[in-house]
Amino acid sequence: MDHKLPPYATTGQRIWFYGFRVLCGLIFFFLMAPILTIIPLSFNAEDFFTFTPGMLAFEPEAYSLKHYVDFFTNPDWQQALRNSVLIAPMATLLAVSLGTLAAIGLSQSHVPFKGTIMAIMISPMIVPLIISAAGMYFFYSRVGLQGTYWGVVLAHAALGIPFVIITVTATLVGFDRSLTRAAASLGANPVTTFFRIQMPLILPGVISGGLFAFITSFDEVVVVIFVGSAGQQTLPWQMFTGLREQISPTILAVATILVVISILLLSVVEILRRRSERLRGMSPG
């Protein structure tokens, strides 16, 4: 099917053409509706999880910011936010620095056991989270990392590494090696070459890998529940407990804030992807 209906289309073709578009519209609706519904619901003045008659009539007093106020004043939520903000960047830093080095190593032409190494590095993404969580819980308890800040950071860094490896190796595929050779022939040492030539060119890949690692840690709940203790309760963990026990409308306010954060991150990744393709002389697509 082409994207435009030719002027000579028969009635059957017209029905099929528009019918298909309506079907796709419904599926898009299914994808977006849950996320879009909770945004207005989070401004509900009542403690209900559905639209009150007042909200449907757009009465201003039916809307309020009280759930947001609760999020920003409730010590439990604030502690959770603080933990999330402390854990995710540190895990990202570890994942990005180790992952970028390894991706550069993997992109060299002669790497022994490349397949095995690659499989090990991707494995945290493949193994179901509950299994990683179980293994880490058992093992970290043995070595005394269970229930500590560093235990959670190390676990989250491990989970974020595959994303860094994948994005950075993908950027390195288009990297022109003659640039580093040119730098070397002009007298630059390997460190200078890395920071002045290679790094600026692969930076978009590194940053978007880092964003993936960040969102992995920031959103992660299964591993932190097992590896962390009450002192490492993060935002998703707090939401999970809230949803399981007493569901409070503050969760919707938190959810809305997280949706806004994801929109921001998505835009950054998209801009970086386009920039990286432009730098490598590909057409953005």
Binding site: V127, I130, A158
Partner: protein, 571 residues
């Protein structure tokens, strides 16, 4: 020129080259080394450099991720707890035929083991472990831990009545301890006193107890029981055997030794305290005895049940297949492997449900994802990029946000039910049960996993040239023939990739089923989590996890064969 002449010239040239090569040797690099060697060396350096860059991450992952996975695999078969907690009993039970209650000797071994285990407070741990296999053992162990102190009291009183020396810790130390230990201990005590007098802190531990050389040959059980007593109080309570009267079980052991050892052996003993021992040996035969099985059964009936003993015997190996069998609804009995009783079979059903629901979710994802991917790949780039955002935004949104949205929408008083009632499709008193059941799990997980189907499908469909379908149509194919015979077969790799990806992700899901699945919509992962944090049956959790892991790795291997791990794309 003839052919022969050409051949001659060619041969002459080759000879000349060979002669030259013999003079100058192999081709040289600029630094005077043979080129081949030089190249090899450069290649080796390059490999080493690459490995040096990879090594930090590889080490990091081995410690933080791979080791935990192997730890879990190890835990699913490990069972050292029985042989560590009851070492003597396990040995004594080796040749037991499971026909009658074990012998007095086995009960004596159990008494010594249990006394030490109770003192170290590890008997309840073994009790809970064996309770997974035979219900009731946990309470048997707990009760016996409280009563075991009194076992041997009769003997202890009689020995003390005979000679008050038996009450004196120093007399026991003189009998049992190695002379060099006695010296070292005295030395340590002197230093402790000096420190105490000078108000200095003193945190040196007492020298570890050592048994005298000859005593084990004369009084084997007593020596063993006393060593168990001495080391345990040293390690657990930081007490000294020089200050503590032995446990009652030590007197029991002494009584048993004096009756069982040949009189000549006792008479021949000439070590420290020989007179004390020989005095007791003369009259011990007249002491009141204790019926050990009766004593244990009096503490808890469980000890009179052959099943308790069979369980200890069956699970005495340091490695067991028991957890894996339990994970497959089987059990290890002394008669061999059997199915669990009907009402306890849940895991096969859970695995089956996990697979069926995952397949349902996968099927729904194909049905919903295919039209979207098709539309996206046939629209002009600008429009499709815009619509792609509608797919990517849910993909990037926090899993918890999407799950909580569904929890809110699907409730009985939620938005969907309200809308249906308002539209008049559903009566107000017959609101649909959309949550806390399988329907909830399937709806929410289809929504969450749909982007993972659309993205690989889209990337495959983008590469299908539209000219093929046009060619088919120009040759007379109808729209549906052109689609099913030309377009669809080319999109099958995308369906395969998307299906495996969705299926792999789905069978390991935990959060969403936990929150919207209720009791009937949970997956095997939820059971694993339950065993880790609630029932504390870690071995079973590890076995269930290992089975799930094997399943996922097999699927992943398939994915790698079909799609290639290098083709994983994000966003």
């Amino acid at each position: 020129m003839t052919d022969a002449a050409t051949g001659n010239i060619g041969r002459a040239a080759a000879d000349a080259r060979r002669a030259e090569a013999e003079q100058t040797g192999p081709v040289m690099a600029a630094d005077g080394r043979p080129l081949k060697q030089s190249l090899n060396r450069a290649l080796r350096a390059q490999k080493l450099r690459a490995l040096a860059l990879i090594a930090p991450l590889l080490l990091f992952l081995l410690v933080t991720f791979v080791a935990p996975i192997f730890d879990m695999l190890f835990r699913s078969v490990e069972n050292q707890i029985t042989s560590e907690t009851l070492p003597r009993t396990v040995v004594a039970l080796e040749d037991w035929d499971a026909q009658d209650l074990p012998s007095q000797d086995t009960f004596a071994a159990l008494a010594y083991d249990f006394m030490e285990a109770a003192e170290r407070r590890i008997h309840t741990r073994l009790g809970s472990r064996l309770n997974y296999e035979t219900t009731g053992i946990s309470s048997t162990f707990r009760r016996s831990g409280r009563g075991i102190d009194d076992l041997g009291e009769t003997q202890a009183e009689q020995f003390i009545d005979l000679n008050p020396q038996w009450e004196d810790p120093a007399a026991w130390v003189a009998l049992m301890a190695a002379p060099d230990w006695i010296a070292a201990q005295a030395d340590w005590a002197a230093r402790a006193d000096a420190a105490d007098a000078a108000d200095r802190p003193f945190d040196e531990a007492e020298p570890a107890f050592r048994l005298a050389g000859g005593i084990a040959a004369t009084l084997p059980e007593t020596a063993d029981a006393y060593r168990s007593f001495a080391t345990t109080i040293q390690q657990e309570d930081e007490d000294s055997p020089t200050a503590e009267e032995p446990w009652n079980t030590v007197y029991l052991a002494l009584y048993r030794d004096l009756l069982r050892q040949p009189a000549a052996t006792i008479a021949a003993y000439d070590g420290p305290q020989a007179a004390l021992v020989q005095e007791a040996a003369g009259v011990a035969a007249g002491f009141e005895a204790t019926d050990l099985p009766a004593f244990f059964i009096d503490m808890d009936d469980g000890w009179g049940d052959l099943k308790t003993w069979e369980t200890i015997q069956t699970f005495s190996d340091p490695y067991t297949a028991g957890y894996f069998l339990a994970a497959l609804d089987l059990q290890l009995t002394p008669q061999g492997i059997e199915m669990q009783p009907e009402e306890q079979q849940i895991y096969l059903m859970l695995f089956w449900r996990t697979i069926v629901l995952s397949l349902t979710i996968m099927g729904l994802c194909v049905l919903l994802g295919y039209p979207i991917a098709y539309l996206l790949s046939n629209l002009p780039m600008r429009t499709s990029n815009l619509l792609l955002i509608l797919v990517l935004l849910p993909f990037w949104t926090s899993l918890l946000v999407r799950t909580s949205a569904w929890k809110v929408l699907l409730q009985q008083q939620g938005v969907i039910n309200d809308t249906l009632v308002w539209l008049g499709l559903v009566a107000d008193d017959a609101r649909l049960a959309l949550i806390n059941n399988q329907v909830g799990t399937v709806i929410a997980m289809t929504h969450i996993l749909l982007p993972f189907m659309i993205l690989p499908l889209y990337s495959v469909m983008k590469t299908i040239p539209p000219s093929y379908v046009r060619a088919a149509k120009s040759l007379g194919a109808t729209n549906s023939t052109a689609f099913w015979r030309v377009y669809f077969p080319q999109s099958v790799p995308g369906i395969g990739a998307g299906c495996i990806l969705v299926f792999i992700l789905s069978i390991g899901y935990y959060i969403t089923p936990e929150l919207v699945g209720g009791r009937t919509g949970i997956f095997i992962s939820n059971r694993i989590a339950f065993h880790i944090s609630d029932s504390l049956n870690w071995g079973l959790a590890a076995a269930l996890g290992s089975i799930l892991l094997i399943l996922v790795l097999a699927l992943y291997w398939l994915y790698d064969r079909l799609v290639g791990i290098d083709n994983v794309k994000l966003g």
